[in-house]
């Protein structure tokens, strides 16, 4: 691993270590900072500006109250996120665990949104506390969901992901309906480091020192977590309390950072991952180097950004940029990253007892789908309230209701199929179409078109979306070719691509361009823009593909058994994976073009199908397809009626409905 990095640098014979990387970055950072400070203020005045600024010299005032606090806070925030990342990755034994994956950041954001709208008085008392409370509650929810399973790493990450999606959906709904009130929070959400006093530093510093001291005290017990559950338990450690304590600490650190500078993407994930790759194996080593690297990464990025963005009319917040810069780095790292095999796997696949008669389940689901379709087509409100189904109402409304209902059903089915495939191929209940990044990739292309080509029409959007979906698929295949499409790597690539989409979205939102309303609506998964031709095409292909997919059931039954078993039973594992991934990509792209990238159904439907007892591939696929359609149709209909005449997009609605159900079942597992 280390060789790879060393070889790609200009000094191939020097082995790269965390220390050397930090020194290199520190030099770059110092040079940049020195240059930036020199353009701001003559060097002779630096000392004065630092200690006793001349209040009438605006340059000194700027240096003292803006430049220096910003520089300091970027170091502090980067370091803090590094510590939080190390703690989480250690506790969850997952190289992808990060402060943002536990729902802390979204929880804090949602709390601030809610306070802004419904209890502005709280903000006067202190934004920090609102954010900390929100982040803490979100984490509490994650822990509550994973409690029965003794906070097993896999379950915690899964719960974190679901809570993240759920709270994100609630936030997006609020933003959609209260765009003007919440515009300030968009800036915060994108992570701007801009400071105008030392308050932020004075808030963050003592809290970080306390957190660091606590982390140091917990070094020894934490190191035991390297072992698997059984071994650790035999050493007399209460795993549950230890995990709770260390995760709680990581969350506290994250919430402090988030409340001061907003959501800073990627640092908490990247810094620990990079130092690990560079050979920092033991926990003390990682706890030393990860914060340093995190601090330097964030500060260097911020310095570079201040040079670049000075002349632009759009603000480019640092938090979103680190995420955007980090994604390619992550993509580059993935083929070189050692995953699995390192430490013992603990979490088994989530499963429920197998059902004897899957036919009955399918029939019940089919019936429910028919009822939902009828309700969606016939029942609705008009200006005077609920209108009873009648021929005249049907004539007036079928033009609008039919395409949307069909599209919802079709897209739901496609996503459910894609989700089933990917969950079975990877044997990973966290997997879903949006995780492989196709949705994110498609969305990037569409945002680009909407932002840079004014007044673009639907056909152009469709073409752009298809092209970017294909491009994303290309990247996915290119990066994973060498590893033989190993499931974890594919997921990782997907997360990295999605990580590229989030910052773009944040930047667009932060700049408050009024066009964001349309983007937001589309990104939340609305069937609004679908016309009849498209709707029929989607619905028809959903039916055909559901039937065609049955022929893949042998692969889908065998692949989860593991590579060697599948190979022994005569499956060309690589080719089967490639084929299935291609199918997943196409399914996702088609669905994304119709209902946007928020495809919670792709995660949910296969899961529910499994929990309802459909375990063989054939039954699983069919049940998931029916559930997907049912969920989407219900979501679309409810979304149209709930806040009539305002509409909640189907994607958001399905997240709100499905997410609640999903969390409930997760708790019972």
């Amino acid at each position: 691993m280390r060789d790879w990095i060393s070889r790609s640098l200009p000094f191939p014979h020097v082995v790269m270590t965390p220390a050397r990387l930090c020194v290199l970055l520190a030099l770059a950072c110092l040079a940049l900072s020195g240059y930036s400070l020199a353009t701001q203020l003559p060097a002779a005045q630096w000392a004065q500006a630092l200690f006793v600024p001349d209040e009438r010299n605006i340059d000194q005032v700027l240096t003292h109250y803006s430049w220096l606090p910003r520089w300091t806070i970027s170091l502090l925030a980067g370091g803090a996120l590094g510590i939080a990342g190390v703690l989480m990755q250690q506790v969850l034994r997952n190289p992808l665990a990060a402060p943002t994956t536990l729902g802390v950041a979204t929880g804090a954001q949602l709390a601030l949104l809610l306070a802004t709208l419904f209890a502005p008085g709280l903000l006067v008392l202190g934004r920090e506390w609102v954010a900390v409370a929100g982040g803490g509650l979100a984490m509490g929810l994650v822990f509550a969901l994973a409690w029965r399973r003794g906070l097993a790493p896999m379950v915690v990450v899964l719960a974190g992901l679901v809570v993240n999606l759920y709270l994100g959906a609630v936030s997006t709904t609020l933003i959609l309906f209260h765009q003007e009130e919440l515009r300030g929070l968009m800036v915060w959400g994108a992570g701007s480091l801009s400071q105008n006093s030392w308050d932020g530093v004075l808030y963050l510093l003592p809290r970080l020192l306390i957190a660091l001291a606590l982390a140091a005290l917990m070094l020894r017990p934490l190191a035991i977590l390297e072992l698997d559950d059984v071994n650790a338990r035999s050493l007399g450690v209460s795993l549950r309390h230890l995990r709770l304590l260390s995760l709680g600490l990581a969350v506290f650190i994250t919430a402090c950072v988030v409340s001061v500078v907003g959501i800073i993407g990627f640092i908490g994930l990247a810094a620990p991952a990079i130092v690990r790759l560079l050979g920092a194996r033991t926990l003390p080593q990682r706890l030393l180097w990860a914060p340093l690297l995190g601090a330097l990464l964030l500060t260097t990025t911020d310095q570079l950004l201040q040079h670049v963005s000075g002349a632009l009319p759009t603000m480019i917040p640092t938090g979103a940029t680190t995420a955007a810069l980090g994604a390619p780095l992550l993509l580059w790292l993935i083929p070189r990253l050692k995953l699995g095999g390192d430490r013992p796997q603990t979490a088994p696949m989530l499963a429920a007892p197998r059902r004897r008669h899957p036919m009955r389940l399918q029939l019940a689901l089919g019936l429910a789908l028919l009822v939902a379709l009828a309700a969606s087509l016939l029942l609705g409100q008009d200006g005077q309230g609920w209108a009873l189904p009648s021929w005249s109402v049907w004539q007036a409304t079928h033009e609008w209701r039919l395409p949307r209902t069909l599209a919802a059903a079709g897209a739901g089915t496609l996503l459910a199929l894609a989700g089933t495939l990917i969950q079975r191929v990877t044997g990973n209940p966290m997997a879903s179409p949006e995780v492989v990044g196709i949705s994110g990739g498609t969305a990037i292309g569409l945002i680009g078109v909407v932002m840079f080509v004014p007044g673009v029409g639907l056909p152009m959007l469709l073409i752009a979306g298809t092209l970017s979906a294909l491009a994303t698929l290309g990247v996915l295949l290119l990066i994973n070719r060498r590893s033989g499409f190993q499931p974890e790597r594919v997921l990782l690539t997907g997360i990295a691509i999605t990580a590229l989409f989030d910052p773009l979205r944040s930047i667009v939102l932060a700049n408050g361009d009024p066009r964001t309303q349309q983007l937001l609506a589309w990104m939340s998964g609305s069937t609004y823009y679908v016309d009849t031709v498209l709707a029929v095409a989607v619905a028809a292909s959903a039916v055909i593909l559901t039937l065609a997919m049955q022929s893949l059931s042998r692969w889908l039954d065998l692949l989860p058994m593991g590579n060697s078993s599948a190979r022994a039973l005569g499956v060309n594992v690589d080719r089967a994976r490639l084929a299935l991934l291609g199918v997943v990509a196409l399914l996702t792209a088609a669905a994304t073009l119709v209902v946007g990238p928020l495809s919670f159904v792709g995660l949910l439907a296969p899961h529910m199908a499994r929990l309802l007892g459909a375990s063989r591939a054939r039954a699983h696929l069919l049940a998931a397809a029916l559930l997907g359609a049912l969920l989407m149709v219900l979501a679309d209909w409810l979304g149209r009626q709930w806040l009539f005449p305002q509409e909640i997009p189907a994607g958001l609605m399905s997240s709100l409905l499905g997410g609640a159900y999903f969390m409930w079942t997760l708790r019972r597992l």
Binding site: E55, R56, I58, V61, L62, H64, Y65, S66, W67, T116, P120, L123, V124, R127, F177, H178, E180, R183, G184, L185, V187, W188, S192, S194, Q195, N196, S197, D199, A311, P313, T314, M315, G380, A396, T397, E399, W400, R401, P454, G455, G457, L458, L461, A510, N511, G512, D513, P514, R515, Q517, Q518, L520, A521, Y528, Y529, D531, F644, P645, Q646, E647
Partner: protein, 309 residues
Amino acid sequence: MTPLSMRGDTLRFHLLALALLVLLAGPYTASAADTPRIATVDWTIAETLLALGVTPVGVAQTDAYREWVGAPPLPDEVADIGLRAQPNRELLAQLSPDRILISPMFSTLQPSLERIAPTSTVALYTPGSDLWTRLEKATREIAAFVNREERADTLLASLDAHLAELRDGLSDATKARPLLVVQFMDARHVRVFGDHSLYNAVMQRLGLENAWQRETNYWGFSMVGLEALAGLDDARLVVVDPMPVGVEERLETSALWQHLPSMRRDDVLTLPPVWSFGGAPSARRFADNLTQALHEAPRTAAHREAPDA
């Protein structure tokens, strides 16, 4: 033949009488009969329609209009047609307006709205043209759709005259000070309105200089951190409300804000809210608010010129 032609003549007479009657009645009934029923998703178009004396049948997000645009007030009978980006088509179809007006940023809606009623685009914010020219043109376009061309001419002429009057009322000393018009997003970030914004266009009409000369976005503002305002020494800050909750309290402890030149001279002006992306009515209100604040300000600020200035 004769009886027939006689009959023709009577018919002609009757028709003529009817036409006369309509012409005579015209001034009294035209406003009800000739005014098409308009629905619009755009608040600026809604605002302009109301200023032209036309009440639209449906406007998107009426509650938010009342909160953010405010004046001219939206009558209660105007139907809420849902989100601006996704107006409720079932409801629109039921309202069956004669015409739907949208702005270019909602152009993706056109094909489907076209199936309900003829849909036209009125462009106010388009890059590369003078905003005031566009504003006048857009106002006339909207007026043409509702047969209120003369009313539009009156509205624009009176706006011009009003602005000229306000401009003449401002002292040369006031005009010499460049202004920096900002709206707070949070305690650390502001929108600064520059070239191609409504505020800037109004300031030009008032003979006032805008201190913000940097490039702006499609909507005529730049999103910047507070520190970007520090370099503009002699500019006078104009803060347009509403302030987000808690910002005022945080600015009290914000050292940078307290040390901004305009803040230290104590000549920061605060204006009541005006829709920043509005049309003629918003322009008029902004001009009134700004000149009023400028008239009230110098008395407190004149003798407090910065010691080093």
